[in-house]
């Protein structure tokens, strides 16, 4: 199997996730092939870094909270610096199921994609969420599918695998506050091939979802504006 020769890194952004990050790290390291885990501690005030380290992860501690985008990008920089071939992004709150990682990696390999997104909405199972969230997800799906001229069902999923070329690109260009939808557009516009596969996700067990209604609207507007502007920005020269 080719997977054993590739160097694979799991990037786990975590902000005050001491109750869930340990299990995430543990489950990733229990996968039946070599994989390294780097937890990016985004300025946590709890024991996130300690817990992650005790479970065997490499921990990158940001000096202050950068937001999810800045944290994930730190992971990409680490991957570039240490010459990883593949990176898998897994949220530290435990909603992504590590045993689904092999399926992301398989899709990356067999479908020759640059990016594989684990989508909640491709499978048969209905995903339950609030109507506001559904509206947001629907808007991003509509906008991104239109901008990229190809259907993308789960733009807010942070459960993704990237090949080397993509890691290199994202280590230089990664959006900030609410980066998932915009990064899809950024990758698509820069001609990275994106594939979605159905995955299951858990409901978050601990911690709070970080978004209040007012902020949700603000992020929505901001991200849509960013996506709009991305259409006019200079494309990368890779």
């Amino acid at each position: 199997m080719r997977r054993s020769t590739l160097r694979i890194l799991a990037i786990v952004p975590a902000y005050n996730e001491m109750y869930s990050v340990g299990k995430v790290v543990q489950e990733i390291l229990e996968l039946p092939f070599p994989i390294d885990v780097v937890v990016v501690d985004d300025g946590s005030t709890d024991e996130t870094a300690k817990v992650a380290r005790s479970k065997g992860a490499v921990v990158l501690r940001l000096p202050f909270n950068l937001g999810i985008g800045g944290a994930v990008q730190t992971g990409f920089r680490y991957a570039v610096r240490h010459g990883y071939d593949v990176a898998v992004q897994v949220d530290g709150d435990g909603q992504h199921i590590p045993s689904e990682i092999p399926r992301l990696l398989d899709a990356l390999e067999t479908q020759g994609a640059d990016v594989v997104i684990g989508s909640r909405f491709l499978g048969a199972k209905k995903h339950r969420s609030s109507w506001a969230r559904r509206v947001g997800i629907w808007i991003f799906s509509w906008v991104n599918s239109w901008v990229l001229r190809t259907p993308i069902t789960d733009n807010t999923s942070g459960f993704r695998a990237f090949n080397r070329r993509t890691i290199q690109f994202l280590s230089e260009n990664y959006p900030q506050d609410y980066p998932e939808p915009e990064s899809v557009v950024l990758l698509g516009l820069n001609r990275f091939s994106i594939v979605e596969i159905p995955v299951e996700m858990r409901e978050r067990a601990f911690g709070r979802s970080s978004i209040s209604p007012f902020r949700a609207v603000y992020y929505m507007v901001k991200v849509l504006f960013c996506i709009f502007m991305d259409m006019f920005k200079e494309k990368n020269k890779m």
Binding site: V40, V58, V59, R61, P63, L66, G70, Q73
Partner: protein
């Protein structure tokens, strides 16, 4: 009537220059960021002193009362300066982010080096 407005804006212009001079002298303001302010103050002074130029400008853009053109000029300068600062702040934000990320990466490298020093035999890729 007009002359009073002109004196006022002349005073504001000169006052601004004095404050800027003091700030730069005491190293509290970088020359680079003072330049736009100085240019604004000079423009304000120029138009307060040179009345016929102000009147020409006013008729050109359709302002009946020439001194209000002074306010327009001041506002315009203010907008340019604010825009300039937004660009500078964006740049600083980007730099701060990159620095923070670099700190995180270096912290981890130091940790690895420290551990190597303590325990010389340590396999790579913990």
């Amino acid at each position: 009537m007009q002359i009073r407005v002109q004196i006022l804006s002349l005073c504001v212009g000169i006052g601004l220059l004095v404050v800027l001079f003091q700030l730069i002298r005491k190293n509290r303001l970088e020359e680079k960021y003072a330049l736009l302010w100085i240019a604004s103050a000079m423009i304000l002074i120029l138009f307060s002193v040179w009345r016929s130029l102000l009147e020409k400008l006013a008729t050109l853009v359709g302002i009946y009362y020439a001194p209000s053109a002074l306010f327009l000029i001041a506002l315009f300068c203010g907008v340019i300066i604010a825009l300039h600062f937004s660009v500078v702040i964006s740049n600083l934000t980007r730099q701060t982010k990159t620095l923070a990320q670099e700190v995180a990466l270096l912290r981890q490298e130091i940790e690895v080096l420290r551990n190597q020093k303590g325990k010389p035999k340590r396999s790579k890729g913990n």
